[in-house]
Amino acid sequence: MQTTNDGLELARRLLAGALDLEEDTIDAQAEIAALQGFDSLAYERLVASVEEHLDRDVDPLMMVSVDTVADLGKVLSQTEDQNQ
């Protein structure tokens, strides 16, 4: 079972890759759209990396409602639980 912390660490890792940032500079409470390096292509890369990690398409409604880094962490931990 994934914990919220696992989800948050994973969210940081995926965001760091998509936005070309250092993981430890990504604050959990930060709004993703306000992170340095965020743009339309970065969002596209983020969705692709989430789908690649989960090995399936993500629910668009779930993904679009993600606002903060912590939100993404929660979604990832919940989705991984559903996968198991």
Binding site: A33, D39, Y43, E44, P60
Partner: protein
Amino acid sequence: MQMREAGFAIRTMSPGDACDEYLAWIADPELMGPLNMPARRLTISQLRDHIAQFDNKLRHLLGLFDETAGMLIGIVLLDINSQHRSARVSLFIGNRDYWGDHRLHPLAQAFQAYLFERKGIEKLRCQVAVDNHRMIGTAKLMGLKPEGLLRGEIRSHHDGSRIDQFVFGLLKTAWTKRRSYEHADNK
């Protein structure tokens, strides 16, 4: 309508702005697909006629220009509902070299300021197909928030299936509040 910011400009298109680049974008399935528009091969004369269809009072066709390079790089469509002081925006960057180009962000912010402060718009919104992640990213970048899902809102030009769209919106009050936070952070 015209504004300039950081070497880029957005202004009303006139038939004289019809160019080979714009024709190529309209004929490009990769660009038109996410907009659910068929790729079409138009002549320069047909493109001029298309541009001339916009009244540029309630229905605006705007061009995005790189002023330094002296070229059109994208298109913005703006539909204004004057009764409700709302505007619906859609856009695409045709020139791929400018995808994800952060130099365009100041122009996007200036455009929002123009709509809210000078055009009297109180609500900005856009509708995006649920799988158009680039445009969803753009809406989020511009501070628009998802407000709902429109199931089967539009018909696919490709196969006739119904396509879900997200509605994104931004109220002037939320924009003003956000901007005051940003200004405070910058001090």
